[in-house]
């Protein structure tokens, strides 16, 4: 045989490894960046990191192509052609910041609300909101309103935390995992790691999703539900479990407000509110005495069934109200099966399995703990059923109540914060009353009166003026959507263009591709951004935009502030913001410049430090008026949010040396993070690992770590009283009254116990004419629009056909290579189709944000994404079709304002094949040169 060549099987791997945090999506994994000759040579996962434990997804591994993408902006840009043309000239940073200051300073001095500052997918909201607060505008939010606010808000209001950044399944103990519609990047690698663990143990995965791809493809059972009916399905499970008495009575009595008493006098102003004692605390009947007691009284044993009658008014516990509602036949599996597209027998089988695993396969950990009533428990009992959900169930106009229903299902099974169930991640759990309320009082030349976003507890907390007009440009926290905790970024451009509730001067945005995939009604938004008034001036007078890449939005701004790539910047993934903790550990992390930019670009947060100083914003200048923070790194190190609490919790300065959690700023803090691999982590003590909202040892530890300043024990809110307060107002009680046209909607949707109602679009669009549901999913190997500029990732998802189920495929006589015209009540698109059998029979779908505008992202105009790719966004309007009442009805959840992307209904017909997908738009001129045709990437010699 031929002699084998001699191989060097131990070549040098790299000169150096620099450890930082990934930003190829929102998952925030730890990465090892291998350097050769000062260049990035290879990226892999960091094995010590709490989020990814060494693994890394396709996006993360392709970071080298993102960091070097031809689409990177190179210098500040000033628009020289008309908006939308893409004609710019490069300017200096001094000129750019002078322009921005000249525009913003007069606004601040006269009417700060004329600035609308909205950030997209940034991970520095505790910083950007501080800046906006200092500026004084009420018009600030991030992208949560068009993402998953329903999931986040329903979780906080119900149980003081939700999924992803708030909580996760107990992967090591769970025996049955139920996954509802999920955006893949919302805890990307941890879910994959968790599913791997479950599979290795032979435990069961149930996927509830109209589309069987990804996680649903490996699920042992796939429930191909009809979009928008998840709430109905969940409440049918609740019905089955309650009807069979398969609920955790002890858990419900002790740790939820099931035992709290509700006023039942229809004539009372307290009707439907919780009975409160003199100290304002909700009351229960104590089983020891049979008398009233505060829910949190020492030693109290709340009675789940005792009523209380006083002065002719009956008060029954929440649990009785639940029994009245959920035992009704309208929630029986037979009553919901057809609408959900799930046979009644299957619903019962799943309910039976939930009961079997939760109660017959219960687990116990030998760990003593003490609850907030002083009751000692000698073990931690677990009900090993876990659940996870995200955008699939939340991006509907009934999404808030659906997410609430899911949490109620978890809670009646006793599976939240117990072994084998769902666990919160520090600094959660945190009840809604421990969060701020929204603030919106402006003063010329001064700061806002408090944080913009928060949790309302009743009509008094709304951001409306005396005439009920909105204080905020996005109409968050108004009667239209009272509990809009994340704002409504998807309404900002539309409202600003309409001058409703008022006109603005400058729109300032960061990392949000609003003229393309991040907006509903994409072509409408392009028109709004370029529309002029009778004088020929733009209706939205000024637009400032910051992005690292040549996205579609760049062409619509007047001033561009070019950001760095994620490997060139400082960032903190902070406990004040959207942390990276795991259930067993509190953790935070940084990014740091593992390479310096080779272009004239600056990290956006550092730019805000300088712009804030030029504008004299409180918090951004010293007493002598000089700039307070030289850059973002300086802010991360030295900012104090509260005494002893800063952006990073690791390696703070104590009286006797370094300490974690609370402490004074430490000049060497970032170096300590870098030396530790870019993150800090401290394990949750073992006796604090479960039952955290009720566990006194956890509460004490949380105070020590600085999550809050005093213990905050609470019970889960099956019955959300703040919602009832809005209903009461709509029924005519109280001084703050909704406008008449919203009374019926508020009475109907703000039910304090979860309900299901059909998607609002169904009330505006004829379901017979538009019988098909249309969805998007985010591929595992792409993040929003970012992936397309990545030479490796675009080879995985370079086109996005519309996937069509067998029934519709055959009915239309489709063949491979065919195109279809897809029409909604709002618009039409003509796109390539492909057959998929593993799909709900009335649903079509495509990958999100693959389609690109010609000229964007430094791609050639013949790029497949611009010729065969498309957006579903053209079919979705930010407003519901007019009802003839002259009002603008937002296409959002009427409780939170969450964008109802997935309510979309369409019809489909075969079409001829056009040259490119329709609608097609003229190319925009690229502010950066195009990339090379071919490449053979290698940085090492």
């Amino acid at each position: 045989m031929t002699k084998q060549p001699v191989l060097d099987t131990s070549p040098p791997v790299s000169d150096e490894v620099r450890k930082t945090t990934c930003y190829m999506c929102a998952c925030r994994c730890g990465i090892n960046v291998h350097m050769k000759d000062g260049k990035v040579a290879y990226i892999e996962g960091n094995k010590d990191h709490p989020v990814n434990q060494g693994v890394l997804c396709a996006k993360g591994s392709a970071g080298i192509m993102q960091h070097n993408a031809p689409s990177r902006l190179r210098a500040p840009l000033k628009r020289v052609g008309p908006r939308g043309s893409g004609e710019y000239e490069e300017i200096t940073w001094d000129e750019a910041l002078t322009i921005a200051t000249d525009w913003l300073k007069p606004i601040r001095e006269e009417a700060p609300e004329k600035l609308a500052f909205f950030t997209g997918r940034d991970q520095s909201q505790s910083f950007t909101s501080l800046w906006a607060q200092g500026f004084g505008t009420p018009n600030y939010a991030a992208h949560g309103g068009f993402c998953s606010v329903n999931m986040a808000a329903a979780g906080i209001y119900t149980m003081g935390g939700a999924f992803w950044e708030f909580g996760q399944p107990d992967w090591d103990h769970t025996k049955m995992f139920m996954l509802f519609g999920v955006a893949e990047d919302h805890d990307s690698n941890p879910i994959k790691i968790g599913i791997g663990k479950i599979k290795a143990r032979g435990a069961r995965v149930i996927g509830v999703n109209p589309i069987r791809t990804g996680y649903n493809a490996v699920a042992d059972d796939w429930v191909g539900i009809t979009p928008g009916t998840d709430g109905l399905f969940i409440l049918a499970l609740v019905h089955c479990l309650m009807k069979a008495g398969r609920v955790d009575l002890d858990y419900l009595a002790r740790f939820t407000n099931a035992s709290v008493l509700v006023n039942e006098d229809p004539k009372s102003e307290q009707f439907g509110l919780l009975l409160r004692g003199k100290d304002g605390e909700p009351q229960v009947i104590d089983r020891r005495t049979g008398k009233l007691a505060a829910w949190n009284g020492q030693g109290v044993e709340p009675d789940l069934s005792a009523s209380y009658r006083h002065k002719g008014v009956t008060h029954r516990p929440v649990f009785h109200h639940m029994a009245d509602r959920y035992l009704m036949d309208e929630y029986a599996p037979e009553a919901v099966a057809e609408r959900c597209g799930i046979p009644a027998k299957r619903i019962r089988a799943i309910a039976a399995d939930l009961a079997r695993v939760a109660f017959d396969e219960a687990i116990e950990l030998d760990r003593e703990w003490t609850d907030f009533r002083g009751v000692k428990h000698d073990k931690m009992v677990g009900r090993p059923v876990s659940m996870h959900a995200m955008r699939g169930i939340s991006a509907h106009s009934n999404g808030f109540q659906t997410c609430r229903a899911l949490h109620v299902l978890q809670i009646i099974l006793g599976t939240v914060e117990v072994p084998g169930g769902m666990r919160f991640k520090p600094p959660y759990p945190k009840p809604p009353h421990a969060h701020p309320k929204p603030h919106g009082r402006t003063q010329p030349g001064g700061p806002l009166n408090g944080p913009h976003l928060g949790f309302v507890h009743g009509p008094d907390d709304l951001m409306v003026k005396d005439d009920n007009s909105a204080i905020r440009i996005d109409k968050a926290f108004t009667w239209d959507n009272p509990m809009s905790s994340h704002g409504l970024m998807h309404m900002v451009i539309s409202n600003a263009h309409a001058g409703d509730p008022y006109k603005i001067d400058t729109l300032f945005m960061y990392m949000a591709n609003m003229s393309w995939n991040s907006s509903m009604n994409t072509s409408g938004v392009m028109n709004m951004l370029t529309d002029t008034d009778e004088n020929g001036d733009y209706v939205i007078p000024r637009i400032i935009y910051s992005d690292a890449y040549s996205s579609e939005m760049v062409a619509y701004a007047d001033l561009i502030l070019p950001d760095t790539t994620y490997l060139e910047r400082h960032d903190c993934i902070s406990l004040l913001d959207r942390p990276i903790c795991e259930a067993d550990a509190v953790a935070d992390a940084i990014r740091w410049p593992v390479v310096e930019p080779d272009r004239d670009v600056r990290g956006f947060q550092s730019v805000l430090c300088e712009l804030g100083a030029r504008l004299d914003l409180p918090g951004f200048v010293n007493e002598d008026g000089s700039q307070k923070y030289a850059d973002y790194a300086d802010y991360i190190t030295n900012h104090l949010r509260r005494p002893g609490v800063g952006p990073l919790a690791g390696w703070r300065m104590g009286e006797t040396g370094l300490q974690d959690g609370r402490g004074e700023p430490n000049a060497g803090q970032l170096d300590s993070y870098i030396a530790n691999g870019g993150f800090w982590m401290e394990h949750v003590p073992e006796n604090c690992a479960y039952y955290k909202p009720f566990n006194v040892d956890y509460q004490a530890w949380a105070v020590k770590m600085g999550f809050y300043d005093s213990p905050q024990p609470y019970i889960f809110q099956l019955y959300v009283e703040p919602m009832r307060r809005f209903q009461l107002a709509a029924e005519g009680h109280g001084t703050r009254q909704p406008p008449d046209h919203l009374r019926e909607q508020i009475k109907r949707v703000m039910d304090p116990l979860p309900i299901w109602y059909a998607a609002l679009e169904d009330g505006h669009v004829d379901p017979v004419e538009y019988p098909i549901h249309a969805l998007t999913q985010r591929p595992m190997a792409m993040y929003h629009s970012w992936g397309t500029q990545n030479a490796w990732l675009r080879q995985i998802h370079g086109v996005n056909p519309l996937y069509v189920p067998t029934k519709i495929w055959e009915a239309n006589g489709f063949k491979e290579g065919d195109w279809a015209r897809v029409t909604s009540t709002h618009g039409a698109i003509t796109v390539p189709v492909a057959h998929q059998a593993s799909l709900n029979e009335n649903t079509v779908w495509t990958w999100n944000a693959i389609g690109k505008r010609k000229g964007a992202w430094a791609l050639d105009e013949d790029a497949s994404e611009a010729t065969k790719g498309f957006l579903l966004n053209h079919l979705i309007h930010e407003l519901l079709p007019p009802k003839g009442d002259g009002l603008r009805w937002s296409n959002s959840d009427p409780i939170t304002g969450q964008a109802a992307w997935f309510d979309l209904r369409v019809k489909i017909e075969k079409s001829g094949a056009p040259d490119v997908t329709q609608p097609a738009f003229p190319a925009i001129k690229s502010p950066v040169p195009k990339g090379p045709t071919d490449q053979a990437w290698k940085v090492g010699k």
Partner: protein, 253 residues
Amino acid sequence: MTTLPTSTDKKLGLVIDLDTCVGCHACVVSCKGWNTENYGAPLSDQNAYSGAASGTFLNRVHSYEVQPADKAAQLIHFPKSCLHCEDAPCVTVCPTGASYKRVEDGIVLVNEKDCIGCGLCAWACPYGARELDAEEKVMKKCTLCVDRIYNTNLPEEDRQPACVRTCPAGARHFGDLGDPDSDVSQLVAERGGFDLMPEQGTKPVNKYLPPRPKDVEPEFDILAPYLEPIATDGKGFVGWLDKALSALPGGAK
């Protein structure tokens, strides 16, 4: 013609779990990154920022739909790379000796210096696991990360193929399939691991673990007791509740 060794000391290979693979392409890109920077010529990309981009990959994930007669359709994610066959037709067909199978571990490699880019090996491989690099005009294939698995510059725990190290779901396993006691051999035995297209007679070293049965309808009679009704309406439920509570510790008053 190139000859194969009559036997190899080890049979290093991959075990890929089709029950767990979620089709995320992490292995695909990690492989691309490592092998662009390391062994041999970089893996090039054509139309990197235009048209329909296509480049060289040593590992790709395909997805196949299965439509059972009486159940919902299923989707199987199927990662595919060189299977390091014992009877590797890509080696025996090589006219220059560039393709070879290593005696010490059974890894099939291409010595790029001797490769003339004739493409016969790609034609001979029944799995389509080899790709001719359009830029360098040499044949590229999975090396099982031969420059990682023995690399003393890497921590010991990292001495495994890039695709295995990165797989988030833990669907990829690496080891000696010639050793019946190895973890991978045990896994194959436990889970009924199988050869891809055994009828081709290539004796692939890599094994696939089959997906577990899906959508198995439970026997409802067994489950029925779990949902035995205790009431038909809210009032009845409260009656049951009172009794149930009095049965709990400290309940009966």
